[in-house]
Assembly symmetry: C2
């Protein structure tokens, strides 16, 4: 047990990813489940830790993400941007269960706006420090709450969050568009038409246009979800992007593909970054700093 | 029963307003209930009509609104804009229950967009024909789906619909902002700050800023709902308004106040129009044309 191994957990809103790490920062095992913070109450966390210890032994656990939020185990104070990986490591909080550490999120307050992140900071700073992306770069981290992050000198210096993914889910699950949004969302012509339509602003009217388009036979019902996704992602990307901007996209899966497509349609250059490798690089740097 | 009286029904998504009308178009009785189309299945309508007949006698019934939609009693084809009150009257559909008439909605198809309305057309054309507003005017009809309507020569020539009200409800009831949006929405400083913040675009990030602002103590939790409402209405109005534009606002109640405030904050002139009087004027014109 004193071999330097530990558990790194990317503990988000809906998912949890658990990595058994060796002392060199290599993931020996990885698994993913749905025991995100929405599934758990405050009192569930000690039990969760006991289960992990029963399986993996009494090794340190270091977690990042929404586990450290008002909705998670405990509200860990944000560190303020600009923030580097050392800033995070200095503000890690030890939880009552022995040897469980939670990495803080990052906040920013600028004139007229305020923003917060939890979890993305480990990925972005891990990427910038491990050479997965330049130390000066812009990142897009697609998800329920899409993050746009600017890193300079391997420190987070600015960021903003768009409710793009959550709005899509609300529209698909609860809105007047819901029954029309049963089709797949892929990077096809309907999605791309949506991106073009969404780039120009007027999102509130463009969204209702999905319903009208289907009712009037101008939009195929099977394409409505992809078109609506394009509208939202197009509006999101257009608000951030100038032609020629290089954006490092931290996401695998469909969402990463959709954002990459929208960024390129709108004149930017999208560079993929392995989000998991970035998280592991970042969390291992924090762990090393804790041990130092 | 042959005295020319009839029932006029503004039969919407969530509410139903029933007016007992005399032959001159005066409402003798008025009531409002929650038996909108969302409360009813297709098979419920004949029973609803029987109940109305039992109370009011075997007089004609003329209804407008979502009752004539895919979610209502029967999908009545839209008439295409440009559309005047005569256009509506010619396309009224008689339902199987004797002497029940449903007024069609209006559709528009323009390059790159399509839109539909059901119910607002009776109000707007009623207002324009009865002198409640000029025959050439722009209207705003706040509601779950806010309508912006351009009337020329007392005909609807263009319109678009914004999902403003529905998005507000989705965010308040189902989103990550929900627990923060328990405060009142009034035309106060928080709403007006939201309008100013919403006018500049970037709605997707501004909405997440509500959460971040509360978490970081920059926005009072009690003000969050009003601020979010301001963001949405500000974005909606800003997309439609040029300075000096005169907008006729067809709505009483809080929403009318909020839109009036936002229109004036953003440099427009808001003119109130009594929405109920406009509906009654419009539906009575349709009734007269049916009888002629």
């Amino acid at each position: 047990m004193a071999d330097g191994s530990y558990l790194a957990i990317d503990w988000g809103t809906t998912n949890r990813r658990i990595y058994l790490m060796d002392r060199a920062g290599t993931a020996l095992e990885a698994e993913r489940d749905d025991r995100g913070v929405l599934m758990l109450s405050v009192d569930d966390y000690p039990t969760e830790i006991d289960r992990l210890r029963a399986r993996f032994g009494a090794i340190p656990i270091i977690a990042a993400g929404m586990v450290g939020s008002t909705r998670g185990w405990r509200d860990i104070p944000y560190v303020e941007a600009p923030a580097g990986i050392e800033t995070l490591a200095r503000a890690v909080i030890c939880m009552p269960a022995a040897d469980v550490w939670i990495v803080p999120g990052v906040s920013i307050v600028a004139p007229g706006r305020a923003d917060v992140m939890r979890g993305e900071e480990v990925q972005v700073l891990g990427a910038a420090r491990a050479g997965l992306a330049p130390a000066d770069a812009r990142f897009c981290q697609p998800g329920t709450h899409n993050k746009w992050i600017r890193v300079a000198g391997a420190r987070i210096v600015d960021f903003s969050t768009a409710m793009t993914g959550e709005l899509f889910a609300l529209l698909r699950d609860h809105s007047v568009l819901a029954e029309m949004m049963r089709g797949p969302v892929t990077d096809g012509p309907a999605f791309r038409d949506g991106v073009e339509a969404g780039r120009g602003g007027g999102l509130l009217t463009a969204l209702f246009g999905v319903r009208a388009g289907v009712l009037l036979g101008r939009l195929d019902r099977a394409d409505a979800a992809a078109f609506a996704s394009g509208l939202l992602i197009g509006a999101d990307v257009a608000a951030q992007l100038a032609p020629g901007d290089v954006i490092h996209v931290l996401s695998g899966g469909t969402l990463g593909t959709l954002y990459t497509s929208a960024i390129e349609l709108l004149g930017g250059v999208a560079v993929p970054v392995d989000a998991e490798a970035a998280f592991l690089a970042g969390i291992h740097l924090v762990k090393e700093m804790l041990d130092a």
